[in-house]
Subunit: 145 residues, 2 copies
């Protein structure tokens, strides 16, 4: 028999918590986005992954525009209730760039521009040299036209 329990979710500290999506077929980590309690409720209720878009400031069904939906097998929560793991079956690719996973680049080195790093609004202060290792599975121009 499996052990049941009640876990406090850490939405008191912040409005949003991170949710990782993992492909149950390949095991690949696909993406990370943010969720509200409502996004998790919608995910459990519909069986499709929902997140909260920080840029558009709204509840967001993954694949609502592109058709690249995520069918959710189960939702895990971590030991301290502040991160979620959506275990999903991904339609098409998860990344808006056309890659199967958003984590399609491996990091070779990190470069800090000491001069510019004093300006917190300068996005170029910390950069990384990367190599593309992922697989492109769709053409983003067609998916989002």
């Amino acid at each position: 028999m499996n052990e049941s329990s009640e876990v406090a979710l850490a939405f008191d500290d912040t409005e949003l918590l991170p949710a990782i999506a993992q492909d149950t077929d390949t095991g690949d980590v696909l993406m990370l986005a943010y969720v509200t309690p409502e996004a998790i409720e919608k995910t459990l209720e519909t069986g499709f992954a929902h997140y909260y878009s920080r840029s558009r400031d709204e509840l967001w069904k993954k694949g609502g525009t592109s058709g690249h939906v995520q069918r959710v097998a189960d939702v895990r929560v971590d030991c301290d209730g502040d991160t979620f793991l959506y275990r999903v079956e991904q339609e098409g690719g998860a990344c808006h760039t056309g890659y199967e996973s958003c984590f399609y680049q491996t990091l070779d080195s990190v470069n800090r521009d000491e001069k510019e790093s004093t300006d917190p609004t300068d996005a170029s202060a910390v950069t990384a040299e990367t190599t593309v290792v992922g697989e492109r599975v769709f053409d983003p121009d067609e998916a989002y036209e």
Copy 2:
């Protein structure tokens, strides 16, 4: 030939960014913690996963106390440079509770206490009913004594 590029890391918006750890043997998602540029540099330099502890406010080598280190095969960065993926070989278990993964509970339902949710300091405002599905691989009392 693999494509190389330079990616801006989103440390300008926040001091810390999330890093997911995934076991390269099992494919399991083990944990999520936060990193600074220094934590990533230490990880690349030493080959062992480093994070930044928000509670202790310091750079942290995973397994420094327990011996449950993570040997890092590679570090991935996502499409918008604001999340990292450490692909690791985990010694022992990743979770301080003794489970292999911090994501050892599956979420059955989310409960919002509407009365209490107006108080943002109340951690019990949003809770989840969960079922334990993970595997305990070590005794935390022995690892952290």
